[in-house]
């Protein structure tokens, strides 16, 4: 973000008090003004901290059978109880969260990268390149994403890397569309023409002139992508198509599903964990949207 300042002189907004305010500052204030988003940030940082540090403090192995199966939460010293094999659910949630969040983040980063590349090239070069790239995008929109990922995981094996790639490779189409439409709009603006006539190369125009100005809606979409990637991973893991050597939230739900009559908490609790995490991310996305696209605020 600091690099951006050098390229495009930030607008200085005069406020009533006479003190100039930097746009980033204003954006930050607007985000903080959205109480739901601020709360969500707090909740999400608690979840992230818990999954990062939790397993170091609470060292029970999530795969080890430590007690009688179906011990309800709060009994015999097990805060969240045990599952159908007598494994500690709290250990599962803490360790599983790390996996779910990591896959969600990496897969989302991957799809944002693919989406920006495809969208930027299509929107910048137009013509034949745009035609081909947008056809490819449409092709990926027609394939049911989850089924396609299931096929990839089935053919290439259920490892963390394959699962992450399988999610990232199917979910970039929305980012590509947004990036392209932003590029189509911005490339016609005067400052782009000015940079071009000043001799900026295509690469500079794409990455340093147009992209920074196209970023706000992409950032919002990227935030939402992290949430949907987490849901996606949970879905695959629920179906049993995740790395069998690691715990994840979806996988806990999937493996405990046959026993919902005996112990519904083994399904309810990991589901709540996913729900609260994704909800926080959605709220943060909404807050970013309000802060970054002030024009859209009076909806």
């Amino acid at each position: 973000m600091t690099e951006m300042k050098n390229d495009q002189t930030p607008q200085i907004i005069k406020v009533a008090g006479g003190k100039p305010k930097h746009p980033m500052h204003e954006m930050f204030n607007m985000f903080l003004g959205n109480h739901a988003a601020t709360m969500a940030c707090l909740v999400l940082s608690i979840i992230v901290t818990a999954t990062l540090i939790g397993p170091l403090i609470y060292t029970t192995d999530p795969f080890e059978m430590v007690w009688a199966p179906f011990t309800p939460p709060g009994h015999d010293g097990f805060i969240l109880g045990t599952d159908y094999l007598g494994r500690d659910l709290l250990a599962g949630i803490l360790n599983g969260g790390r996996v779910s969040l990591t896959i969600g983040l990496v897969a989302a980063a991957m799809s944002v990268f693919i989406g920006i590349t495809v969208g930027a090239l299509a929107g910048y070069y137009r013509g034949f390149a745009e035609e081909i790239l947008m056809r490819i995008t449409e092709f990926f929109q027609v394939l049911p994403t989850l089924l396609f990922s299931m096929v990839i995981v089935a053919l290439f094996g259920a490892t963390l890397v394959v699962v992450t790639i399988a999610i990232g490779i199917v979910s970039w189409t929305a980012v590509a569309r947004i990036t392209r439409s932003e590029f189509l709009r911005i490339r016609e603006l005067e400052y782009v023409t000015a940079s071009r006539s000043a001799g900026a190369s295509h690469f500079i125009l794409i990455t340093k002139v147009i992209l920074p100005n196209a970023l706000p809606p992409i950032i919002v979409q990227a935030a939402l992508m992290v949430g949907s990637a987490i849901l996606f991973e949970a879905g695959l893991a629920f179906l049993g198509l995740s790395d069998p050597n690691v715990v994840s939230w979806g996988q806990i739900i999937g493996s405990n599903r046959p026993y919902i009559l005996d112990a519904s908490y083994t399904v309810t609790i990991p589901g709540l964990a996913i729900f609260i995490t994704v909800l926080s991310i959605s709220l943060i996305g909404d807050g970013l949207n309000d802060a970054l696209n002030p024009k859209l605020r009076q909806r």
Binding site: L143, P144, A234, F238, L239, I260, F275, V278
Partner: protein
């Protein structure tokens, strides 16, 4: 005439997309580790190199890549997706058996989400800061933050196990096999309710939110002020003028969501043991039954493409500007 031509172009384009799916399928089989010969040999409990070579030449696996691709495409055109060794049936008949259940689920859920989503969106747009509007916003947040399979399990626990209002699994009670067709349909609807509501919950959220935003925008337009000024009742303004004009974006979004609905259906079918393509996909993936998996990928893409075509037609019906082609 123009209309017919446009539709023809759309259909030709859809066929090209399907062809691309077929090519992708073939490439996937090709680059994936292991081939049919390995699968068959695995089923036989091992085979010598000569037998493997025999199997490979029987299935044409020793021919050049493009010859094999041509053969595969010509088979697919004849709706031949090969033979499932796991289910001991041709893939096409296996899929034909399961497809109607998925179609029923997918289209019911889409329709339910659209109708309820639009109703909620319109009501909340009439009073954007009212209590109901906040409730709709909350519902929307729940809809796209909760994992759909978890929503399904929660509904299952609540409404099938604790309060036995709906059946736990399947599509029809096996005891009704002799009953009249009406009784059977009633039973299917009874089984359909929970899966359809579960699947619709995600999209309901999206549609109600977009419909609300789109309605609010339209309600601020000049022609709405004109309609009010000429003395139309609020009901006429909202439902005849505003609603029709705000439906465009919602229907477009619904069209774009078809592939997501089919994806969601895989999870929902698994939760409710709904006998559709999704449960079949999972079974065949766990059994490493590649021909069936690829056949399902093809047919699910077909469902999405047909859904997109229908959306396109619906949009043309709603918006005359698209129909005449001058946007």
């Amino acid at each position: 005439m123009n209309f017919v031509k446009q539709v023809a172009v759309r259909i030709a384009y859809a066929v090209a997309l399907l062809l691309a799916v077929v090519v992708l399928n073939f490439v996937l089989i090709h680059i994936a580790p292991g081939d049919i010969a390995d699968t068959i040999a695995g089923d036989m409990g091992g085979a010598t190199e000569e037998v493997m070579a025999k199997i490979r030449s029987d299935y044409g696996l020793d021919k050049p890549f493009f010859v094999q691709l041509g053969l595969y495409i010509s088979n697919v055109v004849q709706l031949d997706f090969g033979y499932s060794f796991f289910f001991n049936t041709p893939v096409t008949s296996l899929i034909a058996e399961r497809l109607p259940a998925t179609l029923l689920l997918v289209f019911t859920a889409q329709l339910l989400a659209l109708v309820v989503g639009v109703i909620l969106g319109v009501i909340s747009a009439k009073k954007p800061n009212g209590l109901f509007s906040h409730f709709v916003t909350l519902l929307a947040l729940f809809g796209y933050s909760a994992p759909v399979f978890w929503t399904g399990i929660m509904l299952l626990i609540g409404l099938s196990l604790l309060m036995p209002l709906f059946p736990v699994a399947g599509m029809m009670d096996a005891r009704l096999i002799e009953a009249s067709i009406w009784k059977q349909w009633l039973d299917i609807l009874h089984h359909l309710f929970l899966p359809a509501v579960t699947l619709a919950s995600i999209f309901l959220a999206l549609y109600s939110r977009l419909c609300r935003a789109s309605m609010l925008e339209v309600l601020g337009a000049d022609y709405i002020r004109t309609a009010r000024a000429k003395g139309l009742t609020e009901r006429e303004v909202v439902y005849k003028h505003a609603l029709k004009n705000s439906m465009g974006p919602v229907v477009t979004l619904a069209g774009l969501q078809f592939s997501a609905v089919v994806s969601g259906a895989v999870l929902v079918e698994t939760v409710f043991s709904w006998p559709g393509l999704g449960t079949l996909a999972l079974q065949s993936i766990l059994a490493r039954d590649t021909p069936t998996i690829l056949g399902i990928l093809f047919f699910s893409a077909l469902v999405v493409i047909v859904g997109n075509l229908l959306t396109d037609l619906a949009l043309r019906l709603i918006d005359p500007r698209i129909r005449t082609g001058n946007k």
